[in-house]
Amino acid sequence: MKSHSRFILSVLAFGYAFLYIPLVSVVVYSFNDSSLAAVWGGFSTRWYGELLRNEQVLDALFLSIKIAVTSATLATILGTMSGMALARFGRFKGRTLFSGMISSPMVMPEVITGLSLLLLFVTLQQLTGWPGQRGFSTITIAHTTFSMAYVAVIVQSRLVAMNESLEEAAMDLGGRPLRVVFDITLPLIAPAMIAGWLLSFTLSLDDLVIASFVSGPGSTTLPMLIFSKVKLGVSPDINALASVIIAMVTLGVAVAWLIMRRNAKSGPL
């Protein structure tokens, strides 16, 4: 390890403390027996039990996961196509508009995306009768739209960094273009597609504002449910829920890190 100046070291320490202290405090307070979240009333796991018995939470969680899986899959398909188009097809008609539409949803404030999509759905309903009811389908479409942008960027940068010669060799050896895509390109960008899918899945599970706009009565996603509780202040069962999520993410990231380290040690590839 190269030596860091004292300034850099202290900023690093401060930065990581800033990132992690709030998370640690939530986990600690989730074991607080007192129902007044601010007062420490002894160690207890009762809020975890209550979480498991709360059907509202479980229903919302199920809906959120259903939306996240569907939208992440759609976003990966559409995003991979867009990434390939941007990285490999050179200049095509309307490329500027296309790349603009790919990168804008990522930074667009959520209130604007949410409002605009809702107004689109309302207008479509007036004109065509679809969507008759807002909920699963409309939220899935909304999430697919902003997630595919992330997938496209990941796939595109992977393709740009990757040597084109393998695909060219396959073409020169007479591989039909579609075969080349499925036999060469897709396996090579599979890691990028998986990363894109996982990111889309998290983004969808995370979204509150856009879902609030485009959902209808009866379809409450998990973030919408959490928000309606959190609005009223700190509550112990939300602490427990947050801790469960923190534990799951930490576990996933730890596994990913171990795999990464093992791969790095066994040489490049």
Binding site: V111, V230, W257
Partner: protein
């Protein structure tokens, strides 16, 4: 020699045949290309671009008590019935001007704070050994995978009157009464910096990692002080990452709704909140649309700048 050139001729012929086969497939190739472009293109036209036209249309309507709650763009005799009334209202009421300005100011403060904290962190990560670097990066990204809402919520537990910060401060005897931290602009700023910090660190890290450190050493060998070397070498070379990071923080922070709502308290004026309330509480869809259009106008310049920065980055990488 003769044998070799014959091989070459044969190889060329083989290649020619292969190309011929590929050409037969070219029709398929064209079809595949058109398909791969057309499907996502169409999706984005319908679900991303078209909605903006609809927002624009509805921002020119009047709110009415009906389902949906806005007046049609054309009267029954077919004459257009659109007005700029909502925009007139936005510009005549100081409240909206103040809210827009405050949102710009808060987003700018957030961006500067993120840069101040994020730059040394990104620099420290980029200058670490490969293994430490991966771990440090992973730890930056980890909170990003945990629900955004719950991360903001965690700060409520830290900052409220009986929260962790006040408890610790009172316990140490530094203060007697709990400080009012929650429901202030300070709390909103902390929440914004916390949520958007990774968006600053990651692009900065990407440019700093690519930077050639020999240049800094050379400058120092030639007698430049550390500060001088930083401002003359590191800072200009990190420009691309700085611009991208600042825009990635500034643009979404402008329209933020959840953070000012939860941490900023009831009278925290933020344009995203005004839009949300206009829509859900007052059910004034046309006014909410006009608020969105004006916000979009404010963001057009930074969004175009971001796209140009990304296009340049793409060219450099290629």
């Amino acid at each position: 020699m003769g044998r070799q050139s014959l091989d070459l001729v044969e190889a060329r012929q083989c290649c020619g045949i292969a190309r011929l086969v590929a050409k037969v497939g070219n029709k398929n190739d064209e079809l595949w290309r058109r398909f791969a472009v057309a499907v996502p293109y169409l999706w984005l036209l319908v679900f991303f671009l078209a909605p903006f036209a609809i927002i624009l249309k509805i921002s020119l309507a009047d709110p009415i008590l009906a389902q949906p709650p806005y007046s049609p763009s054309f009267d029954s005799d077919g004459s257009p019935a659109m007005s700029l009334g909502n925009y007139g209202f936005l510009f005549s009421d100081d409240l909206y001007a103040i809210t827009y300005l405050r949102s710009v100011a808060m987003a700018a403060v957030t961006t500067v704070l993120c840069l101040l904290v994020g730059f040394p962190i990104a620099y420290g990560i980029a200058r670490s050994s490969t293994e430490t670097r991966n771990l440090l990066l992973l730890l930056i990204v980890l909170p990003f995978w945990i629900s955004f809402l719950l991360r903001v919520y965690a700060w409520m537990g830290l900052m409220n009157n009986y929260g962790v910060i006040n408890t610790v401060l009172m316990w140490t005897g530094l203060i007697k009464e709990p400080l009012q931290i929650m429901y202030t602009d300070f709390a909103t700023a902390v929440g914004l910096v916390y949520s958007y910090l990774p968006f600053m660190i990651l692009p900065l890290y990407a440019t700093l990692e690519r930077m050639n450190m020999d240049l800094v050493e050379a400058a120092q060998d030639l007698g430049a002080s550390r500060t001088r070397a930083f401002w003359d070498i590191t800072w200009p070379l990190a420009k691309a990452g700085t611009i991208a990071g600042c825009l990635l923080v500034f643009i979404p922070a402008m329209g933020e709704y959840v953070i000012p709502y939860l941490l900023g308290g009831p009278d925290s004026l933020f344009i995203g909140r005004v839009l949300f309330d206009e829509f859900f509480l007052n059910r004034d869809w046309p006014l909410a649309s006009a608020v969105a259009i004006v916000l979009l106008m404010l963001l057009v310049v930074p969004i175009v700048l971001l796209q140009r920065a990304q296009a340049r980055d793409e060219e450099q990488a290629a």
